[in-house]
């Protein structure tokens, strides 16, 4: 077994970009390679994420194109597509390749453009995102992605008494965190009143309960322990990765609001890392909608089932609270360029564990968790990273 480490990270600001996908990817990939101290000859493979470039921009078979664009022509490349969990699945596969001894140094990352800069308006983009739902059965109902999470959240509200005000508190918290992150799409704070007064997108979600359509790229360099020792990048250890899926469509899941795939992926990641949920110091979770963060914090065991909304409202999941969630601002404020989102979570974990997160730092953090969800709560990847000098602290 070859321990995998993240030795270099890079990401663009998330927001609106007019660059091509290869140009945008280079803005994350080259800084990641530089941060790792990796020369082109050091990199043995590219694990690349892009979810919807074919539909949004008419670009497909992008992996060798972007590899050539960043000086890696000729290495084995593969493109991953798992809806919003695209680049965390690329990360998982890169970690496994390194752990298996197949590759020593791998570039992992993703890129996507979803903003109106692509020429696609809200209706067109809503239709493209809905392509990740069940085609014959869910799409004809007019179900959108806000709608998918609205159905889960409304059920959670019914079962546990979660309120619109508690959901709004998730947005307020993540906007505050985003205001501390100069790469965030939304860099300004919001208020519960502003969230609750916004136009409805899919009841109970109003505009500020929803993440934005963002453009951006993120990349990380994964290396074996031996290879990491030969590179100049400050390493962070990959302690465990879990990956699970749940039944599609939504209606066929045993208990839709429990997001079982997240529970299964978390159990696998915790077992691999030799930790329990209590050992996690902070988490980046998939808060595409405020309700999604509530469900995720419960599924990951960070809060008791049913208390996700109350925990957010009480400040327990804010920076300075007992378990900070989405110190980067999350998808909600940092932004959500689909194929780059999972890699960006790994960037945030790495910067936090290196002590490079500036104002948004989680004090004394040794163990960070990333939770990335794709499709109608079907694919979930959970990754646990540990500070290189954490030793046996977490176990």
């Amino acid at each position: 077994m070859h321990d995998a480490h993240v030795v270099g990270v890079g990401m663009t600001p998330f927001g609106v970009h007019d660059a091509t996908l290869p140009d945008l990817f280079a803005e994350a990939a080259l800084p990641a390679l530089d941060d790792a101290g990796a020369a082109p000859d050091d990199v043995e493979a590219l694990y690349f994420g892009n979810a919807m470039g074919g539909q949004i921009e008419g670009d497909s078979h992008l992996a060798p194109t972007v590899a050539s664009h960043v000086g890696l022509a000729g290495v084995p490349c593969q493109r991953f597509e798992d809806a919003c969990a695209t680049s965390s699945n690329a990360f998982k596969n890169a970690v496994q390749a390194v752990e298996a001894g197949q590759h020593d140094v791998v570039l992992v990352g993703g890129v996507e453009r979803c903003s109106p800069e692509t020429g696609k308006g809200t209706g067109a983009m809503t239709r493209i995102f809905a392509s990740a739902a069940h085609g014959a059965y869910e799409r004809p109902t007019g179900l959108t992605f806000p709608g998918v999470f609205a159905l889960l959240t409304k059920r959670h509200m019914h079962e546990h008494g979660t309120t619109p005000e508690q959901l709004a508190e998730v947005a307020v918290k993540n906007h505050y965190h985003g205001s501390l992150n100069d790469r965030a799409h939304f860099g300004k704070e919001t208020t519960t009143e502003e969230v609750l007064d916004g136009p409805v997108v899919a009841d109970p979600f109003r505009l500020h309960d929803c993440c934005p359509f963002s453009d951006g790229a993120a990349a990380v360099v994964v290396a074996s322990e031996d290879a990491a020792a030969d590179l100049s990048g400050d390493p962070v250890r990959v302690a465990g990765v879990g990956h699970a899926t749940d039944v599609v469509p939504l209606a066929d899941k045993a208990h839709p609001s429990t997001t079982q795939a997240a529970r299964d992926a978390a159990r696998e990641a915790y077992e691999a890392a030799g930790i329990a949920a209590d050992d996690v110091d902070f988490a980046e979770v998939h808060d595409c909608f405020t309700g999604a963060e509530v469900l995720a914090t419960e599924a990951l065991g960070l809060v008791t089932d049913g208390e996700g909304g109350a925990a957010a409202a009480a400040g327990r999941t804010a920076l300075g609270g007992e378990i900070p969630v989405n110190p980067s601002g999350g998808l909600k404020a940092k932004g959500h360029p689909i194929g780059a989102t999972g890699a960006a979570q790994i960037v945030e974990l790495t910067e936090q564990l290196r002590g490079e997160a500036d104002e948004r730092s989680v004090e004394g953090a040794d163990v960070g968790l990333a939770h990335n969800l794709g499709g109608d709560a079907a694919t979930t990847v959970v990754s646990v990273l540990e500070a290189a000098d954490a030793g046996e602290v977490a176990r």
């Binding site: 109902t141 899919a202 939504l250």
Partner: protein, 124 residues
């Protein structure tokens, strides 16, 4: 037509399910091995993997399991409209909902909604 007329080689495909819906029939599958009922036809049971699936008419009365009012719609759809998960005796269906209904309220199958993406079950 009988339920079996919509199945091919004893298996309900998406095409048969859509044809039945257009004819005003809400079809699904029941697993002979584990009893799981689905409203979205599959080649094998999503719970146990069994291929022993009976094509069945689903109950036409159920209760709202969850519901949302969609106000930002995909291209080709006119908002606002309601989408619900409806709990039947066994299993659930995702459907368009005529008008409003809260979780727990009884709703009845009223036929197919015709949409740019194909027919969808409609309850009201």
């Amino acid at each position: 037509m009988s339920v079996d007329d919509y199945a091919e080689d004893d298996r309900l495909t998406t095409g048969g399910w859509r044809d039945a819906l257009d004819d005003g029939l809400l079809l699904g599958q029941e697993c002979r091995d584990c009893g799981h009922v689905t409203g979205a036809p599959k080649a094998a049971c999503a719970r146990c993997g069994s291929r022993a699936l009976d094509t069945v008419r689903l109950p036409e009365e159920g209760t709202v399991y969850s519901v949302t009012r969609i106000e930002v719609a995909p291209e080709g759809f006119d908002a606002p409209y309601h989408v619900a998960m409806v709990a039947l005796d066994d299993g659930r269906v995702t459907a368009r909902l005529d008008g409003e209904a809260d979780i727990g309220e009884t709703v009845t199958f009223t036929g197919a909604a015709s949409t740019p993406e194909g027919p969808a079950p409609r309850f009201g």
